[in-house]
Amino acid sequence: MQMTRRDLFALAAGLAAAGLIQVPANASEDAVEAAIKKFAGGMPETGGVEIGAPEIAENGNTVPIEVAADGAASIMILAAGNPSPGVGTFHFTEMCAESRASTRIRLASTQDIVAVAKMPDGSTKMARREVKVTIGGCGG
């Protein structure tokens, strides 16, 4: 295929745009990955964790979230698009009827919620789910 000068410009512009978009996304994605690795000791397999959240949250200041994972000893919640990804970690014992809990969280904008579950034997699982936010919850 013959590469014209116009093609070359289009290609360069496309690469630059992709690069520009990737930088901020990666910065936060790195923090998410670091938090997951710190909690799980590696990258867990996807599946086996349930995230209950509204598809669209009108108010990012208080978004109801429910997480569950059969038999989990603890479940960590991360908000991948917040200034700091950590949200909280639930810890369960044998006296809990099931490893399921809910709370209300703050979301700065439309983003992914990540839940990582740790089993009593040390194995880990994770799930990811997008929540669209109409009004962000980290205003100031």
Partner: protein, 109 residues
């Protein structure tokens, strides 16, 4: 500042081994440390509840570590299975070291 008041919803009676739902709420601003004062432009220092724990007859049953992304007036819902009557004690620990608590008796048959 508004008074910090814990509220919990716990059944008074339960059957042994039956799953019961516990709902908890505490009035607290959960100041994230990222908001700016509108007048001075300075950051408002962080002040959140960083830990919540539920104990039954002195044993930890459920606990949660909290970060600033937990919404104001933190609400937590979980379920337990009890085998004997006793007292459920709920404790919230503030960044400034204060602990807010409330106790509820549950009779298990």
């Amino acid at each position: 500042m508004a008074k910090i008041k814990p509220r919990v919803k716990v059944p008074k009676k339960a059957k042994a081994g039956e799953a019961i739902t516990i709902k908890t709420l505490i009035s607290h601003p959960m100041e994230s440390g990222q908001r700016k004062d509108r007048k001075t432009g300075e950051l408002i220092p962080r002040k959140i509840i960083n830990k919540f724990v539920a104990k039954y007859n002195g044993t930890d049953v459920f606990w949660m570590d909290m970060e600033p992304a937990v919404a104001a007036n933190p609400y937590v819902e979980f379920s337990v299975k009890l085998t004997e009557s006793g007292t459920m004690r709920f404790e919230w620990t503030d960044d400034d070291g204060s602990v807010y608590d409330i106790e509820k008796k549950i009779s298990v048959a």
